[in-house]
């Protein structure tokens, strides 16, 4: 429904002028079609591990249906602090350096709003998750997009950042493993970025929601690099590694002053994250290796399958090393990525997402999520090959 012109004029101009997510547009088309194989879904196809769901039911029975403390249950914050220290290499005090949020999306919004004064610049890399640019704008910041390149494995380099950074730049946002490219950063890559952040006195916000999902090398977090912990807000959550998207549970770790500032916004706008979801998260952390390890093995096999299939049919794709996305180039077909995706959808009933949904520099690429079962992936590859022959 379109608002009448007079009401439209009443809407905040920043909100009014931000376009809807390109993914949403695509979703609207797909929902009108039947029997579509979707490689367009950015969430795990695995069920939430049964012990976690069972613990949720138990928590409900026991009446964990009230507010928790603003920061989140202390039991959960302690477990998170331990988990982050073990897997990411930085210590956070559960009393005042860990904040439980409604997904990483809320945590990101809080972090930006807590830091940004009007006109402050925020460096981030594209192609990136659909919300980054909008979230920066909502917080009153000025987004500075840095384009990562396929020939570089979609990694971020110091030179790229230097070309964009100005004295007004305050924040650097990172997201590795990356949605939509599947890129990761090695420790050496991150050390360069860390040096740059220290030199330019930037606050780093690192969204590491896909950290558990790397396939050839273990994940390295920028917070483990000396000097970075005290200028970084680390964001993570339960959506991807534990397939808990609908629980909407994330968390932020950082120096107490920053977490306290984020907490202020959180307590007035959200009060606390869902108590039931927090109880489920405590359960999830009790035996993380088993659930996560099995899923990672399965994703790795699918990644292998997609990569070999692309190679067989002559579709150029940098090797995805993390998350569950492949980002092949369709530039050789000389049609815009959106047209490629739409045509493929209409002719072969397979949904993929045009790279442009993740930033202008995503032109010429499409995102194929392998968070769907192998039968679907196999069939999608048969159809893709057939479709490419018609172009």
């Amino acid at each position: 429904m379109n608002a009448s012109p007079s009401l439209r004029n009443r809407i905040n101009t920043v909100v009014r002028d931000i376009p809807r997510s390109g993914i949403r547009d695509f979703f609207d088309i797909v929902t009108t079609m039947k029997d579509v194989i979707s490689l367009g879904i950015g969430e795990p196809d695995f069920d939430t591990p049964w012990h976690v769901r069972e613990a949720t039911v138990f928590a409900l029975e026991r009446g964990a249906t009230h507010y928790s403390s603003n920061l989140g249950y202390i039991e959960l914050r302690r477990a998170l602090s331990k988990y982050v220290a073990k897997h990411f290499g930085a210590e956070y005090n559960p009393d005042n350096e860990v904040l439980v949020t409604v997904g990483v999306s809320e945590a990101l919004d809080l972090a930006l709003r807590a830091l940004i004064n009007p006109g402050d610049e925020v460096l981030y890399h594209e192609p990136c998750y659909v919300s980054y640019r909008a979230t920066i704008l909502f917080a009153g910041g000025k987004p500075l997009a840095v384009e990562t390149k396929a020939e570089n494995g979609f990694r971020l380099t110091r030179a790229m950042l230097e070309a964009k950074c100005t004295p007004k730049t305050k924040v650097l946002m990172l997201n590795f493993p990356n949605n939509p490219t599947g890129a990761i950063m090695s420790r050496e890559d991150l050390e360069d970025i860390a040096k740059f952040a220290i030199e330019k006195d930037l606050i780093v916000i690192t969204d590491e929601i896909y950290a558990e999902l790397t396939y050839d090398t273990p994940h390295t977090s920028i917070v483990s690099i000396p000097g970075l912990r005290d200028r970084t807000i680390f964001l993570h959550g339960f959506s991807k590694a534990w397939a808990m998207t609908g629980y909407r549970l994330g968390y932020a770790c950082g120096p107490a002053e920053l977490i306290d500032a984020m907490m202020k916004i959180h307590q007035y706008t959200m009060l606390c994250a869902s108590s039931l979801a927090q109880k489920a998260a405590i359960e999830a952390l009790t035996r993380p290796e088993i659930d996560v390890g099995e899923m990672v093995d399965e994703y790795r096999r699918r990644r292998n399958f997609l990569a070999s299939s692309f190679k067989e049919m002559g579709l150029e794709c940098h090797r995805p090393l993390g998350a569950f996305y492949a980002f092949p180039s369709v530039a050789k077909f000389k049609i815009p990525a959106k047209e490629f995706a739409l045509k493929f959808l209409h002719e072969e009933k397979v949904a993929i997402v045009p790279g442009t949904a993740f930033g202008d520099c995503g032109e010429g690429f499409v995102r194929c999520a392998y968070a769907t079962n192998l039968d679907n992936i196999k069939e999608a590859m048969v159809r893709l090959k057939r479709f490419m022959a018609t172009l």
């Binding site: 993914i23 929902t31 950015g42 998750y129 088993i290 990672v296 096999r301 292998n304 070999s308």
Partner: protein, 174 residues
């Protein structure tokens, strides 16, 4: 044959080759696809499978059926058996003798209150009763039996018989 240690130790899967895991999930997968999944040539996969078959690690390939959906005249009994181990051969001789009866579909040596656990199939209750009273119990070394009948199968070989309703994921998501 390559035994690969998984990065995370999990219940029954420590040391299990990834190829075997995939075959347990779907034995009909083509060798070309298995190769793609494991990032190795299809010819290597064929060789490894042939080796597993030759050494008897792979004993066969079967379909997993939801037998409750078939109108079968069949009952399955789960029988606990107490036996006397023999001086030479321990439990193996008696267990092998029992296992050779075609009615016995599975047989396991157990710890605890009894020694052998059998899954026995028959066309009806009487047939199973006859097997127990005329074949099983009279065997030398069998001390006692306790027979239970299976009523319904919820999960078999790791496969849930009743699938949850289709999951409700959005068809495109960020």
């Amino acid at each position: 044959m390559r035994w690969k240690r998984l990065p995370f130790a999990c219940l029954n899967e420590v040391f299990m080759d990834e190829l075997l895991k995939l075959l347990q999930g779907n034995a009909l997968e083509s060798h070309a696809n298995l190769g793609k999944l494991l990032n190795k040539p299809a010819a290597d996969v064929s060789k490894e499978i042939a080796a597993y078959e030759k050494t008897g690690v792979i004993r066969g390939y079967q379909a997993v059926l939801d037998e409750d959906k078939l109108d079968l005249d069949r009952v399955t009994a789960v029988i606990e058996v107490k036996v006397t181990p023999q001086r030479e051969g321990g439990f193996n001789n008696i267990a092998t003798r029992i296992s050779k009866f075609p009615e016995v579909k599975s047989a396991y040596l157990m710890s605890g209150g009894y020694d052998l656990l059998l899954f026995v199939e028959g066309r009806n209750l009487r047939e199973v009763a006859t097997f127990v009273s005329e074949h099983l119990s009279p065997l030398e070394g069998v001390l006692s039996t306790s027979t239970h009948f299976m009523l319904k199968t919820y999960k078999r070989l790791g496969v849930l018989m009743q699938q949850d309703s289709k999951n409700e994921r959005l068809s495109v998501a960020p």
